[in-house]
Symmetry: D2
């Protein structure tokens, strides 16, 4: 039985780790931390957990956490980097759901997160936790940096096209929309139901923090520099990311069937990527609560612009589910352990 | 392995049976029927099932269905009653999620459903499928009539008070609200998102079909005639029933602690009833996707009106989950098999 | 042209005053205050006002405000009471949308609002601003205390029954539900879309601050003590209050037609109360953005429990619209001036 | 007083015409038709109209309609074209909200609407009812073809860029999202709240009927062929269109200020286009119920891709409001008559 610790357990990715791990046959949550809610039972904060967990929040303590086999960081950025070096020294492996170790270049990280990185030496060691590209490295990783929610949906949707050099890497556009749980459980006027319900808007159009991460990973896939215009939007709903991806065929003679086949081949062995039949238009509810990413391809009017649609649940595949998928790989568990729940639909 | 058949598989309770049974360790769906969607893969209609089911809808056929150990009817009323006699004769046990066998008195049934009952002889044999009152009878039942969604939430909330004669059975009021999935997957203008979103209304104030069923069961609990005013409302959300129950203490000297203790005692062994601590106010999302009914008690201003709050997921505890709970009892399975999923929150 | 001042202009009732007054033929907003947003243009905070207002928020100043004919307080409690005495002395009339002057008894006020009342002497002078009961007094009032949102919906629904002594004033039940804009524009985790969307709950079951106000006004209508159980709920929508009111007929021989006629008579001259035809079930969207209260009556199963359904827009009839209606009466304007907008439906 | 007739009055654009025209100082609705609801009061179908209209639906009759000064068609396609020739012959002017006269080329129309056009001769005479491009022609038009909802939002957002040849007309991308009221009031399973709430999806990715209309109008603006990839999405909300428009600068040396100035100049005299300050991200709720189109410009990372955000209320500026704006121009009324309502926010 894997002994699991969770740092930052009051936010939505923390409670989602608890929900998913409750059904994991080989993992057990031994401790969960929160400075603000010390001593409070997790089931008092999240009544869906009543009857499933007796745990109370404790103050994060590296010594205690290092008794775990693996520690998840479900924290804002700049928390994990303060504790990870000590945990790794103690032999505890880490899965970080925050942004601290996703970007290879400490200078780029500082530019977007407005902090100095606390342990830039670890950036080279950290493995980017997208199982569809890095499964082997994840298996032996001590420190996994889980992708952000937008990056997961967007990278999976562009990967086959870029790897096969089927589209121009310089002209990528991602128009994506997220449920508001992606903004976390902070008290902000902007995220009140009274501000958001029945309305839709773009945000961070001039530069979302996920942009450098996405461009970094797409460049690896393309083997070339990429140029991405990324426009995020906020949906009046709780969960779900929908990415609508536009790219330009390098060879207009390539048929849609061929593109579709490339996707099917690329993800043939991926248990959590569903390449849908031609003509499909995935809904975010089809992955609500599940770890699956569903992808569909279109070529409108048979012109040279390819439209890829990619949906995930931002809290599962975009965060806690993917983190558990990485943990499974790290500890020799079946990749799907604890993650076979079916999406709630309707 | 139990061999399961589902009649009426295109509606929301049908797909919810599939979702839940996919994680049941001892049951397997062998066939699922739909006249309208014959030959269509269930995963084409409900993409959340992609990768989990290869089944296609077939036309309902009693002979084929009778090869199953148990058949669920996830149909409108007046379907099950046409097929159940033959299935029972063939030795197949039946769990009916529709209204056909819930009401003991065929005349009352006809009054509310405007049809003649096709097999009134079976009404005495049918067991009302509320495990908290009828577990023993369900175990040996050939035919179980699963309670409606409103009845489940309302009956569980009133039961201890009536059984202990703590409140006046003649002055019961239930103000309840349901998510719109309770209205099913029929094409109706009234249930369009454009008609319902951002709005709230009462409906069927002068007589909802669940009224006679609720009064029948509450009368059994009270050992007396009951008088219930039942006002249903429609919520701008997909899932969830919230019942706000008002009743008058027979003895105002009885304290709230005493009432609360009565609830805890009554449901001490019920795996799917959560009597919450005093002061609680359950949210429907705390049971979204789960089979739990959460109940809280209040006595405002220490007056003689008791307020009970009761929430369920109408598609799980109010339909498909409760049906599986009954199946588990009927076939000697653990009562919670396939039903231990945690509610999706947020 | 009436010169209008608004204190507390950043909240939802403040912006709603601006929206409604923009179409008022005889009133003009001269100043609007906010300590936190001093110097900010109202149209920067609320872009729906772009092109309609050039006003910027100023710091509240009694001397400047006293140059207005009327000042609206769209503030939390305990703000108006600090400034109203000086404004009245300066001859400026006041319409208070907050709770400061609604309750006649300063001791009761203190019990529910946990403050000492700053000017209890004014409580006798303040006129409760429900035009359907107090129109004459409002006309000459210097200080109008506008009813709360729940009180407006509930009082209008019970008034005719209590005034005509048709129901037992000791056994009143109000199960009401509100859109979340009623909770204001404060940054609170509980009111995030991620916490509320797709969910429903009761709150403040043991005592909502509107209870003493409602009981006070219903007692005046009944000419007797009243006993009300009031259970508020929170809807996953922005606007609207729906009150479901239960009461017991004193004389079961009275017919529903007679009750309905009493309502029609009572509100025959009220421009903003719509007594709907028998059988109606009003939706909150039917009053979205409008000052109308729609009411319908039911007598389920012809028993002795009467069910009244009453809907308003909490920000219009429950706050800013009703405040303008009072202003119209105070200054000899047509009661409907600025308030004839039709509800947005769908 | 203009005498107005409305054909097709039960749908959402019909009731929106009624809502808006109720506040028009110089227009009066004389008749409104519906085959299905003949004899029914409009206020029975849409209770928000109670107290504002006594009209009942009548069967459409050209002779009666020709007594009107202007007739609006708020119908599906293929209705107006059957009646317009006779109305024009009778001297009645027509504003068609449907698709019948938007496309110049009858062959293109047939290709997308799968019908033969009933009066192709009128296509040349019909004026495309976008006041910002065609105000003069609209003033003298007998027959105005109002733009679709997506076309209005998208064309206004691209116009200045294309007219000034600032972007490449061959590489236009529009990722747009609509509230579900755009799908009308038809009973369809796909548009049930239970199917859409809490979810988001693209639809008609391979070819939405609005595509040829948009390309036709953008080509006029560009004075050149255009290539547009148009991806519509469905929002879990009632009203609002949000268009996110991507285009490529022809001269990367042009600054964002210059582009912004071009927009301000282009719409300086347009009462219903709001070019927002640089940095803005318009929300659909900022135009809910209003006739305004709000537009904002961005140039992420100072690269060559320009992002324009454009929001309208699909039922007002995307349909009924724009139709009234055209009527105002046709009959010498102030362009804003009946259209000065402020958006409902929150």
């Amino acid at each position: 039985m894997l002994k699991v610790g969770i740092v930052g357990g009051t936010g939505y990715t923390g409670v989602e780790l608890l929900r998913l791990l409750a059904s994991h046959p080989q993992a057990e949550v031994a401790m969960i931390t929160s400075r603000g809610e010390e001593g409070v039972a997790v089931a008092d904060l999240y009544p869906n957990l009543r009857g499933h967990y007796d745990l109370c929040y404790t103050v994060p303590d590296v010594e205690q956490l290092s008794s775990c086999d693996v520690v998840f960081f479900a924290t804002p950025h700049n928390v994990a980097m303060q504790m990870v070096p000590d945990l790794l020294s103690a032999g505890t492996r880490v899965v970080d759901l925050s942004a601290d170790f996703r970007i290879r270049d400490a200078a780029v990280w500082s530019e977007w997160y407005h902090e100095t990185h606390a342990c830039p030496d670890l950036l080279a060691e950290a493995v980017y936790g997208l199982p569809e590209t890095n499964a082997e490295a994840i298996k032996s990783a001590k420190l996994v940096a889980c992708p952000g929610c937008y990056p997961t949906a967007i990278e999976l949707g562009f990967l086959p096209l870029l790897e096969q050099k089927m589209v121009d890497p310089k002209q990528l556009i991602a128009s994506a929309a997220s449920g508001v749980s992606g903004a976390g459980r902070q008290a902000k006027v902007d995220n009140l139901l009274a501000e958001l319900d029945g309305s839709f808007k773009a945000y961070a159009v001039n530069g979302h923090r996920h942009l450098p991460e996405i461009e970094q990973e797409l460049a690896i896939a393309a083997g070339d520099h990429v140029g991405l215009t990324f426009t995020p939007h906020l949906l009046p709903q709780v969960r779900g990311i929908h990415a609508t991806l536009f790219s330009q065929l390098t060879d207009p003679a390539v048929g849609l069937d061929e593109l579709h086949f490339a996707f099917e081949q690329r993800f043939a062995l991926a248990p959590f990527v569903d390449v849908m039949p031609l003509g499909s238009m995935p809904q975010t509810r089809s992955v609500r609560g599940s770890n699956v990413c569903r992808i569909a391809l279109h070529r409108p009017q048979n012109r040279s612009t390819i439209v890829v649609l990619s949906v995930i649940d931002n809290l599962v595949r975009g965060a806690s589910g993917q983190a558990i998928q990485c943990m499974n790989l790290m500890f020799g568990q079946p990749e799907t352990a604890g993650l076979d729940g079916i999406a709630l639909m309707p």
